[in-house]
């Protein structure tokens, strides 16, 4: 019984913090991109626009939920939920901090310490792509449909490279459990980060994560200038908000996986351990740095053309990640 209550409390805390985080990630993004474009970003609601995400949320909640007359009603209604579910369920395996004991009870660093954590995240993030594809199909609109077609092609070419880039990490740490991977990195050479010995894997993971979360320069599924808004062009009100939150949750998950698998998770940055002990703050700092890089890249790079994207995925990233796996295997055999 006590365990159940603790788990429910943990779920409530993590989900509410995650949703608040989604709201403020959008604020952070608008501020960063605004300043990079010599603008100010949100300024009017609250001090320096700090209440802007709340105003946006209230607006989206009270907007009319329009379903186009020729849309496939049920699929149209379910699709954003699938998308959101795929993004939110990944968060259960994200290790925020190392587990510690209070009395007889062990507080785990994640909601569920699954042994197949990494696999679970990959599975759930591809499940989100179903939401994207179904929404485009159900909308009965050519722009939404084109966006979802692009998304499916993108998912096929990038999931492969992403999974392969993580295999090197799995080989080095010998585990799929994200907490174990973080623990294994503490002794990894050098720095305690797999980003150094697994540099090709890290680079490919970062690029594939951009494609996976539909961020610029791989935002073909929602290319505003070509496809109105892409797969969610027909959505409004809270269903649109679900897609929006799913996108930002996806970014958070990808950043969290990158931090856990390549950047040492909740352990401090080497040399800075004297500032703070290991803990959730280090995890969040690293995640926010990765978020900043997402926004930085978005404000810098133009969108890839469709065939360039496919060529990059199949001709460069998959061969490089395969070579990375072979080299890692040789390393494991020799040393």
């Amino acid at each position: 019984m006590l365990n159940l209550i603790i788990i429910l409390v943990k779920i409530a805390v993590v989900i509410s913090i995650a949703l608040l985080h989604v709201a403020y990630a959008s604020y952070f993004e608008r501020k960063v991109i605004g300043h990079m474009q010599v603008r100010m970003g949100p300024m009017e609601v609250g001090w320096h626009g700090l209440l802007q995400p709340i105003a946006d949320g209230i607006k989206l909640l009270f907007k009319e939920d329009i379903i186009p007359a020729n849309a496939d009603r049920h699929v149209f209604m379910i699709a954003p939920m699938i998308c959101f579910f795929g993004a939110m369920s990944s968060i259960v395996v994200v290790p925020f901090f190392g587990s510690f004991k209070i009395g007889a009870y062990t507080v785990g660093g994640s909601l569920a310490d699954l042994n197949i954590g990494l696999l679970f995240i990959l599975a759930m993030s591809s499940l989100g792509a179903y939401g994207v594809i179904l929404s485009g199909w159900a909308s009965n609109s050519k722009y939404a449909f084109l966006g979802s077609l692009r998304s499916s092609a993108q998912v096929i070419s990038y999931e492969v490279a992403m999974g392969l880039s993580l295999i090197g990490v799995i080989m080095l740490s010998g585990s799929l459990n994200l907490s174990d991977i973080v623990e294994a990195q503490a002794s990894a050479w050098p720095l305690g980060w797999y980003a150094v010995p697994q540099f090709p894997g890290f680079a490919i993971f970062c690029i594939a994560a951009l494609a996976e979360t539909n961020r610029t320069p791989f935002d073909l599924p929602e290319a505003e200038s070509e496809l109105v808004a892409g797969y969610f062009a027909e959505y409004s009100g809270f269903r649109f908000a679900l897609f929006f939150m799913a996108e930002y949750m996806g970014m958070f998950i990808m950043a969290a996986v990158a931090v856990a698998c390549f950047l040492g998770g909740w352990n401090p940055v080497p040399g800075l351990g004297w500032i703070f002990p290991p803990g959730v703050w280090w995890f969040l700092v690293k995640v926010y740095v990765l978020f900043f890089i997402y926004f930085w890249v978005r404000s810098t790079l133009p969108r890839y053309r469709y065939d360039q994207l496919m060529a990059l995925g199949w001709k460069f990233m998959i061969p490089i990640s395969l070579a990375n796996i072979i080299l890692t295997g040789l390393w494991k055999v020799v040393f």
Binding site: Q37, R39, W296
Partner: protein, 185 residues
Amino acid sequence: MISLLKKIFLYEIVQGLALTLRVWISGLFDPFKKKTNKTIVTRRYPKEKRPAAPGFRGLHALAKDENGKMKCVGCGMCSAMCPSKCIHIHTSEGADFKKTVTGYRVDVLRCLYCALCVEACPYGAVVLTGHYEYSGFSREDFVYDMPRLLENWDKYMAGKDGGRYFERFWTPKKKNFKGGDNIAS
């Protein structure tokens, strides 16, 4: 070889990233101002208003002379010149058989702010002021009649502004106008 290395390490993308980062930092606290010369350019409009440049062609007004009388004589040249036909003038015979202007309406919604009326007016009686923020709840709000146009003069062209407007931008043709003088006042 070098071009290959540049390609592998995404040299051009890194250059682009460096530029955006520099601009970002300059927007935050501006240590590189001399290098990029870019600080935030946003004007927070309702809070910071840009003063209209002198000679700006904004809302219409009917000029008054030193005695506070309307300069317009009702010759109708402005309305004849107006390309969008938004000036309507009504004149009638006054008490001592002088032509008097009884109505002067400008439909501001139709106006295209070409200032041909100002150019055409021999007496410098119609001006475009620097005022550009006007809004209303109905179309009728934007049909400015004579009292409102005269009021605009007091509001936006009062004092030296009015005289300077003509000195610098539009010389009224009255100065070398060969027509009759003192038709009306």
